[in-house]
């Protein structure tokens, strides 16, 4: 009979006993099943990191689309700096990394049975579920707007066909036309996004249609990186971009696709092209399962990103109420890693360490003019708050600093998309 050394026997016994104790819900030797719904910045990152953190895990990603078009850098497509191909990514890298990828839509979640019903007809069971459903556009939140109206007044706030529609409209617009953007109140996906978009469209107009104007009608009184954007707009585009805050006539009360009119408390504006960014909520799959508050977003435990409704469910990215963290791709990536660490710890009968999060959002004002906001975030007794320091790029910085940040914006895109998709 083969004799075991004392040490190897101890390791074997420990491993076996540890597995049996730590995974009480699982048959002996079975791998835990973690299912991730949504293949964007939160979901793709969660799936990839779950598998990297624990190769034994059975990780399934459920995503409706075969390809993912990033919202980050979609404004650069509008500006003519990138193509749609440049911002389109597939899931082959995740599959090669051992993630089972199912292209389907989720039709329902049964939290009691820990079962998802899918459009494929084959249900999927989970031990832990990660939801990263992103946003839904709340068409009803703006009178006159609807999915049909969005074919004429694109939102382009989910990248893809809507981005192309807005781009085609801008290309067809005569020089001297007015482009109107309707900017939403907080909270919404990508706080600096509307203003980067205005910048990129101003870049396109400057090169192709220099007599055109840009009018931003904003529900808010202030916006992300406002001082830096306004400094950049003036320096690069002169008076091309006009921004109206809510109390100065920016608050839009109704849109009319037929007459291409935007109504405010101060009067009507006609636009040659109108981009309507409507109010938003968490993606439907999270709301339909009862994980959202009446306001439409999902409350989570900040140390794990576990749903406040169901501890087997982790909700990351734009859908989550994440304290001081903005709804950004970087935030989603950071939160997904915290959730992945928490899930791996929980499945092994432990707890993950108190997390710290990070976010950096770059915006391009012009091809060589980048600005950023950067913060570390921590969980304290005041919630999920920004750590000391952080904030936005300096004002009145030399051109070299703006150029460096534009280069780093590109580097960030390369890195984060590789980090998500492998």
């Amino acid at each position: 009979m083969k004799t075991f050394s004392r040490r190897s026997f101890a390791l074997m016994a420990g491993a076996a006993a540890g597995t049996a104790l730590a995974r009480p819900n699982l048959a002996f030797g079975a791998s835990a099943r973690v299912v991730v719904v949504g293949g964007g910045f939160g979901g793709a990152t969660a799936a990839r990191y779950l598998k990297r953190l624990d190769k034994q895990l059975n990780v399934t990603l459920i995503e409706a689309n075969k390809q993912f078009v990033t919202c980050p850098f979609s404004n650069l497509v509008l500006g003519g700096l990138r193509t749609m191909d440049n911002i389109t990514h597939g899931y082959d890298g995740l599959a090669k990394g051992g993630v089972r990828v199912i292209h389907a839509t989720v039709q329902g979640i049964d939290p009691g049975a820990r079962r998802l019903s899918l459009s494929t007809g084959n249900p999927v069971l989970y031990d832990k579920l990660v939801l990263s459903p992103g946003i839904d556009l709340n068409y009803g939140g703006l009178p006159g707007y609807s999915q049909a109206a969005a074919e004429r007044l694109p939102h382009a706030w989910k990248a893809g066909p809507q981005t192309m529609l807005l781009k085609r409209q801008l290309e067809a617009m005569p020089d001297g036309g007015t482009f109107i953007m309707v900017c939403p109140d907080n909270p919404y996906r990508c706080p600096p996004g509307p203003y980067e978009r205005a910048s990129m469209i101003a870049h396109y107009f400057t090169t192709k249609k220099p007599k055109s104007k840009i009018m931003l009608l904003d529900a808010k009184e202030s916006f992300s990186k406002q001082g830096l954007f306004q400094e950049g707009w003036q320096a690069v585009y002169g008076r091309m971009i006009e921004w109206l805050p809510g109390k100065a006539g920016g608050k839009v009360t109704e849109v009319d696709a037929k007459s291409m009119t935007v109504k405010t408390e101060f009067g009507d504006h006609k636009g040659a092209v109108i981009n309507v960014i409507p109010p938003q909520t968490a993606g439907e799959v999270a709301r339909a399962a009862g994980f959202a508050t009446p306001a439409g977003w999902c409350a989570v435990d900040f140390t794990t990103f576990q749903s406040k409704v169901d501890p087997n469910v982790y909700i990351v990215g734009d859908a989550a109420i994440a304290g001081a963290m903005p709804k950004s791709g970087f935030s989603a990536n950071s939160q997904a890693k915290v959730a992945a660490l928490a899930i791996v710890a929980a499945l092994n009968g432990g707890k993950s360490e108190a997390p710290a999060f990070a976010n950096t959002c770059y915006s391009l004002i012009a091809p060589k003019y980048g600005i950023s906001v950067a913060n570390v975030y921590r969980v304290t007794d005041k919630g999920l708050v920004a750590a000391p320091g952080g904030g936005v790029s300096p004002s009145n910085a030399p051109a070299q600093v703006r150029s460096q940040e534009a280069t780093y914006a590109e580097g960030w895109y390369e890195s984060i998309t590789h980090d998500m998709f492998g």
Binding site: G350, F357, N375, V376, P388, G389
Partner: protein, 101 residues
């Protein structure tokens, strides 16, 4: 077989206590370190214009982060991020990325 249960129990205790050690003492992934990948690449290996940090010496990483934080080394975002790191974070990040080969 008399040794079986004490040995197994010991292994479990060791496994459970791993989670509570300070991050600097381990080579385990932790949330703040993983967040660096969004700019510096997975495991700190950058595919683009942002410097690779994975595999640099712990001393270099620690000194860089301290210099970024104090502002003695010029930077774009790194001062703003490093201001949010504690001394313990800096030690842990330096240890973690020095071990990414």
């Amino acid at each position: 077989m008399t040794g079986r249960f004490p040995l197994a129990a010991m292994a479990i205790v060791i496994g459970a206590s791993m989670g509570s050690l300070p991050a600097a003492a381990q080579d385990k992934p932790f949330a703040l370190a993983l967040s660096c990948a969004a700019c510096h690449g997975t495991d700190g290996k950058s595919p683009g214009s942002i410097p690779t940090i994975g595999g640099r010496s712990a001393k270099e990483i620690k000194e860089s982060l301290i210099a970024f934080k104090s502002g003695t080394r010029p930077s774009t975002v790194m001062k703003r991020l490093a201001e949010g790191y504690t001394d313990q974070d800096i030690d842990a990040l330096a240890a973690y990325f020095s071990k990414r080969k």
